[in-house]
C-alpha cells in the first residue's frame, strides 16, 4: 500500500519524475472518469482545515464546469504550526501534480494553478522544477502563482480573489468558488495534500493516512504520516514520546481547539471519531502543551496572532478580535480589568458567522475551547495569579506570586 510519503527519505529532497513513475507507474488517466465516485466512497476529507468531503467538492465543480473549470491547488499554508503542505510539495511534487491533473480531468478544468506560499521556497522550487519534467501538454495548462504571506491568504475566496485581482482578502460568498471562481469560472480550490491523497485513491489506495505536524512537548517535532485509526497516544509514541507531562493538545491548528489530554489520549484521530466528540483534525496540527506551561498565555499568543491576521474588512472581526486580544493579553499578564473574563466569554459567542470568511469563527472557536479546558487558569488569572511555572514559549516570566 502506497502512502503519501512512501519512497526516499524526506531529507533526499524532491523525488524526480523518473523515480516517481518507477514507484507508481503512469498516471492512471482513465481513472479520472470514475474517480469522483471513488472519492465519495473513500470518505476522503479535505486536509486544508475545514475537512469538507473531497468527492462532494469535486462533484459540485464537475456539475458546473462544462470543461471550462479551474483547479487551484492550495499550498499557501499560512498556519503557523503546520509544515506538512510545504513538506509534501518539496518532497513529493509529482504526487501533488498527479492529483491536480486527475482533478482537472475529473471536474472538467483546462486551467491548473499551483498556489504556493511565497515563504515556502523549497516547495516552490520543487514544484516549478517538477512541472518542467512533465509533458508540454500539461505545462500548457498549468501555472504556479506565489501566494502572499498571511493566515487569510489561503482562505479559498481569498485565493481566488488574489488570482483574479491581486488582492488576497476574502470576498463575500455566495458565489462560492465552485460556482464562480477564477476568471468567473467554476473553480475547485483543494489543498495540496488532499490532491496527493486523491492521486493515491485513483491508484486503488484507501487514503487511510494523513500528514500531521507535531510540536510542543514531544521528542520528535515535525511532519509525520499517521494512520487515521491511530490514537493520539500511538502518534505521540511514534514521535518518540512526550518529553514532559502534557496537560492539553491543540488539535487542528489555530482554527482548531484545545482538548484536555485525558479526553483525547486514547481517541483515534479519524475525522468521524473526533467529530463525534466535537473536535476536528483540521490541518493535522498536534501541539502538546506541557503541564508547567500556562494555557491562558499560550491562548493569548494565538489569539494575538489571529487578531493581527484579520483582513480588516469586517467590523466584528476587526474590532471583536481586537478587543478579545487586548483582554486576553491583560488576563495573561495577570493585570485584568474587573470584567475581562466575563467579556471575552460573551464575545466568544458573538462573532461566529459575522464575517465574510470564517476567520472570526475560527478564532472564537479556539477561544471557547480554551475557556473550557483552562477554566481554572482563566479564573485564577482574572484574580491576578497563575499556578504555572513556565511561560508559553521562551521568554522568562516571574513565578506565580500566589496559589489559590
Amino acid at each position: 500500500m502506497d502512502r503519501l510519503l512512501s519512497g526516499p527519505p524526506l531529507t533526499a529532497g524532491a523525488e524526480s519524475y523518473g523515480a516517481h513513475q518507477q514507484r507508481f507507474g503512469l498516471l492512471p488517466a482513465a481513472a479520472a472518469r470514475s474517480l469522483i465516485g471513488r472519492l465519495e466512497a473513500s470518505n476522503l476529507a479535505g486536509r486544508g482545515g475545514a475537512g469538507f468531503p473531497v468527492g462532494r467538492k469535486w462533484r459540485a465543480v464537475a456539475e458546473r464546469a462544462n470543461r471550462k473549470g479551474v483547479v487551484l491547488a492550495n499550498g499557501a499554508e499560512g498556519e503557523p504550526l503546520s509544515l506538512k503542505d510545504r513538506t509534501i510539495m518539496a518532497a513529493r511534487p509529482h504526487l501533488v501534480i498527479d492529483g491536480a491533473v486527475l482533478a482537472a480531468d475529473a471536474v472538467g478544468a483546462d486551467d491548473i494553478i499551483f498556489y504556493v506560499g511565497a515563504e515556502h521556497q523549497a516547495a516552490e522550487a520543487a514544484m516549478r522544477y517538477a512541472l518542467t519534467e512533465r509533458s508540454a501538454d500539461l505545462r500548457g495548462r498549468a501555472r504556479l502563482i506565489q501566494a502572499p504571506r498571511g493566515y487569510v491568504a489561503g482562505e479559498e475566496s481569498a485565493a481566488v480573489h488574489f488570482v483574479n485581482a491581486g488582492d488576497a482578502r476574502p470576498t463575500i460568498t455566495p458565489p462560492r468558488p465552485f460556482e464562480r471562481g477564477v476568471g468567473g469560472r467554476p473553480t475547485l480550490v483543494q489543498n495540496v495534500e488532499s490532491l496527493a491523497a486523491a492521486a493515491l485513491v485513483a491508484r486503488g489506495d484507501d487514503a487511510g493516512t494523513s500528514l500531521a505536524t507535531l510540536s510542543g512537548a514531544v521528542r520528535r517535532t515535525g511532519v509525520m504520516e499517521i494512520g487515521l485509526d491511530a490514537t493520539l497516544a500511538e502518534v505521540a509514541a511514534s514521535g518518540g514520546g512526550l518529553v514532559r507531562p502534557v496537560q492539553a493538545v491543540l488539535l487542528g491548528g489555530y482554527f482548531g481547539g484545545w482538548v484536555d489530554i485525558n479526553d483525547v489520549w486514547a481517541l483515534p484521530l479519524a475525522p468521524g471519531s473526533l467529530r463525534a466528540r466535537g473536535h476536528a483534525f483540521g490541518c493535522g496540527v498536534l501541539y502538546f502543551l506541557a503541564e508547567e506551561t500556562c494555557g491562558v498565555e499560550a491562548t493569548a499568543r494565538i489569539i494575538g496572532y489571529l487578531a493581527s491576521q484579520s483582513a480588516r474588512q469586517c467590523g466584528p472581526c476587526l474590532f471583536g478580535l481586537g478587543a478579545i486580544d487586548a483582554a486576553g493579553r491583560r488576563l495573561a499578564a495577570r493585570s485584568a480589568q474587573p470584567d475581562d473574563l466575563k467579556r471575552i466569554a460573551r464575545w466568544s459567542g458573538q462573532l461566529a458567522g459575522r464575517g465574510a470568511c470564517k476567520h472570526p469563527d475560527g478564532a472564537t472557536g479556539l477561544l471557547r475551547s480554551a475557556l473550557g479546558v483552562f477554566a481554572d487558569d482563566y479564573a485564577a488569572h482574572q484574580r491576578g495569579f497563575c499556578v504555572h511555572r513556565a511561560p508559553a514559549v521562551g521568554r522568562p516570566v516571574a513565578m506565580a506570586q500566589a496559589v489559590a
Binding site: 469586517c314 467590523g315 472581526c317 474590532f319
Partner: protein, 69 residues
C-alpha cells in the same frame, strides 16, 4: 414567501440605523455592528425590515427571498 435579512459584512460600517428601525430582529454588538436574530422575518415585521434595508447608508443590508421549503 419567506424572507431573511442578510448583512454584507464587508460593506457594513456599523452605522446602526437598522437596529433602530428593527430592534425586534437586530441588536448591536459592543462596537455597533449588527447581530441579526436567526430565522425568517415575521410577516408583521416585513414592512419595518424593508425600511431598515432602505435606510442602510452603505447598502449592506438586504432581504433575501428563500424558496418555499
Amino acid at each position: 414567501m419567506r424572507e431573511q435579512l442578510q448583512v454584507d459584512r464587508i460593506r457594513c460600517d456599523g452605522h446602526g440605523l437598522c437596529a433602530e428601525l428593527l430592534p425586534e430582529v437586530i441588536a448591536l454588538d459592543d462596537w455597533g455592528y449588527p447581530i441579526v436574530k436567526a430565522g425568517t422575518i415575521a410577516p408583521t415585521l416585513l414592512e419595518h425590515a424593508r425600511k431598515a434595508v432602505d435606510a442602510c447608508p452603505v447598502l449592506a443590508l438586504k432581504l433575501a427571498h428563500l424558496a418555499e421549503p
